[in-house]
């Protein structure tokens, strides 16, 4: 039983990171119909940017700051201006393919300019166990979970409580009407790209100490985020959060109780089942189709 609790806690911690990535993914989809196949690589890159800053002699806190600023610039602004804007009018599929090519490009660039080997990454929260009610609990899991929950709450508060957040939601729901009532739609879309850049940088900061910084680590992460986004509901921020947590826990439990070889299969089967029987996701609304 105690083992089960540990597994669930560790699952929730990774799941919370998946949730952060999945939220960014759904935000991009909602505001600009971008299916970002490079989202996993977006999470992998900031860790390397921070590592590079540290190699150049910056202390850890400054490296984090530089990493976040650079990802805002590259993965937020640059991604939107150079890739999404010119491709958006061509439809969903060419844009999705372009992000696939982008994923290859980022992976290869990291492999070429940094290293093909996995590098260790300093942890934001202290590593070790603390005792809660006489049981040892991983401090890292707790810390990650706490930070991720904080980020998610911050984001939901931004989206639901502030004027900017409401304008962003309006943009996502109906850009034409949003424009008519005077919302700066373009600026709101840019804002979601910047928020996504922030989220992936945060996810990078949280997950890299656990899984090491490696150029190929984005593949697994990206897929987990897709699955989380779809399972929860592609058009719902809270769906993506629930999906992320669920996938994290299911993945961990499957590894322990079903088979380590097929642990990756369980979330996929869940994904197929959800798409076939409840395509709008667990918490999503059905999207209307136009004839």
């Amino acid at each position: 039983m105690s083992n089960l609790l540990d597994l669930v806690l560790a699952g929730l911690a990774t799941g919370a990171i998946y949730a952060i990535v999945a939220v960014g993914f759904t935000l991009l989809w909602q505001t600009s119909q971008t299916i970002n196949f490079a989202q996993g690589e977006f999470v992998m890159l900031p860790a390397f940017l921070m590592l590079a800053a540290m190699h150049a002699g910056a202390p850890f806190w400054l490296a984090i700051l530089i990493g976040i600023l650079l990802s805002l610039l590259l993965l937020g602004l640059g991604f939107k201006l150079l890739l999404v804007d010119p491709m958006l009018r061509h439809g969903v599929l060419p844009l999705a393919i372009a992000t696939m090519a982008l994923a290859i490009g980022i992976k290869e660039a990291v492999k070429q300019f940094f290293s093909a080997e996995a590098s260790p990454f300093p942890s934001l929260v202290p590593v070790g166990d603390i005792s809660i009610f006489g049981r040892a609990v991983s401090l890292q899991s707790l810390g990650v979970l706490a930070l991720a929950i904080l980020a998610v709450f911050g984001l939901t508060a931004l989206l639901n409580r502030t004027s900017v957040g409401r304008q962003m939601q309006a943009t996502a729901q109906n850009p034409a009407v949003a424009r008519i009532i005077g919302i700066p739609v373009e600026r709101m879309i840019l804002l979601t790209f910047l928020i996504n850049a922030c989220l992936v940088a945060l996810a990078s900061l949280l997950i890299t100490p656990i899984y090491l910084a490696k150029f190929s680590s984005g593949e697994v992460l990206g897929q987990a985020a897709f699955i989380a986004a779809i399972v929860g509901g592609f058009n719902q921020v809270r769906g993506a959060i629930a999906g992320g947590l669920l996938i994290g826990v299911v993945d961990n439990l499957a590894a322990a109780y079903i088979s380590t070889q097929y642990r990756a299969a369980v979330p996929l089967i869940l994904l197929i089942a959800i798409i076939l029987f409840r395509p709008q996701g667990l918490l999503g609304r059905a999207e209307e189709r136009t004839v």
């Binding site: 890739l83 372009a98 696939m100 982008l102 490009g105 897709f226 699955i227 990756a264 994904l271 798409i275």
Partner: protein
């Protein structure tokens, strides 16, 4: 004018075919391997072009079907069975599995379908890796024999290249015919407007499943050739990135154009070789050129040509109209 263009096209086609037959005579082992790989990947990409380009169904599982075909061929031929038998089994197996994978497409479309097929692709990879009793797991299957066709052994690279080229030829002719048949038109109707197609009496359900099944069966053909080409297979080449690569080939070449997969596979297989002098940068350059191409022309390379041709036709037509107009005015 039109006649001339037709002759020009036929000449171009014959020159291309002759070049594919004659030029490899001077190539070394590695060059022949790359060209054979191009032929094999073109077959797989043609299958995906049918599913995606003509019938409009997104699939991210084409690489998995190449894997299924390759494993079927590897297992059967190492057991001493002829490659032709393996080909039959591959086609049937991929057709059946592809048909089943088509069912989700009846319920969901676009990005959801992409994710279902993506999940299938990863599941297939896990099965290749973990079902060691039949696939030999991560150790892979080695010593895959090359076939003897009509008494000609194809052990050497050149004969095997001709086998790949001949297969590509047969598949191309079959595809050419299929696209021009009523089925091909039904696929197009499915892509353009499924609801309208249905109201006109096209059995969209059957054609959706067929688009998946035939496209997958072609991937099975490619896989059957891939196994004896490399003579060793393990799960790694058949992971998700092969499916993504094949999708990129189709889009970059031009989805829905007959010759799109030929060009796309050429870029994906040959361009990295030409860029080899750039060493570690070639995949970066490849990725960057794909992005630039898609920004400039989302319908791929053949899309550019198509656009140019249309522009020229409009120009000629308006010039004709203008001269016709002036001659009419001058007539009375």
């Amino acid at each position: 004018m039109r006649e001339l263009k037709k002759y020009w096209r036929i000449t171009l086609g014959i020159v291309a075919i002759l070049a594919l037959i004659v030029l490899p005579l001077g190539l070394n082992r590695y060059g022949l391997f790359i060209l054979s790989q191009w032929a094999v990947m073109t077959i797989a990409a043609m299958g995906l072009n049918l599913t995606l380009g003509y019938a409009g169904q997104v699939s991210l599982a084409q690489g998995a079907f190449v894997g299924i075909g390759a494993y079927a061929a590897a297992i059967m031929t190492t057991q001493g069975m002829p490659l032709v038998a393996a080909l039959g089994v591959s086609i049937l197996l991929c057709f059946a599995v592809g048909w089943l994978l088509g069912y989700p497409a009846l319920r969901v479309q676009h990005h959801y379908l992409a994710f279902v097929t993506l999940a299938f692709s990863t599941l297939a990879f896990l099965a290749f890796r973990n079902e060691g009793w039949i696939t030999n797991g991560i150790y892979g299957i080695s010593n895959i024999p090359r076939p003897t066709i009509f008494g000609f052994p194809t052990n050497r690279p050149l004969p095997f290249y001709y086998l790949c080229l001949a297969s590509l030829g047969i598949v191309s002719v079959a595809m050419w015919w299929l696209i021009r048949s009523p089925w091909g038109r039904a696929f197009l109707a499915l892509r353009e407007n499924p609801i309208r197609a249905q109201s006109l009496g096209v059995d969209t359900r059957r054609y959706t499943l067929m688009a998946f099944a035939i496209g997958s069966a072609l991937a099975g053909v490619a896989g059957t050739l891939y196994a004896p080409l490399t003579q060793y297979i393990d799960p790694v080449p058949f992971n998700l990135s092969l499916s993504l690569d094949l999708l990129m080939m189709v889009i970059v070449g031009g989805a829905g154009f007959f010759f799109g997969p030929f060009l796309g596979a050429m870029i994906a297989v040959l361009l990295p070789e030409w860029l080899r002098f750039t060493e570690g940068y070639y995949l970066m350059l490849y990725a960057a050129s794909v992005i630039v191409l898609l920004i400039y022309s989302p319908t791929g390379i053949l899309g550019i040509l198509d656009r140019l041709a249309t522009e020229r036709r409009t120009k000629t037509a308006s010039a004709l109209r203008a001269s016709a107009g002036s001659s009419l005015e001058a007539a009375p």
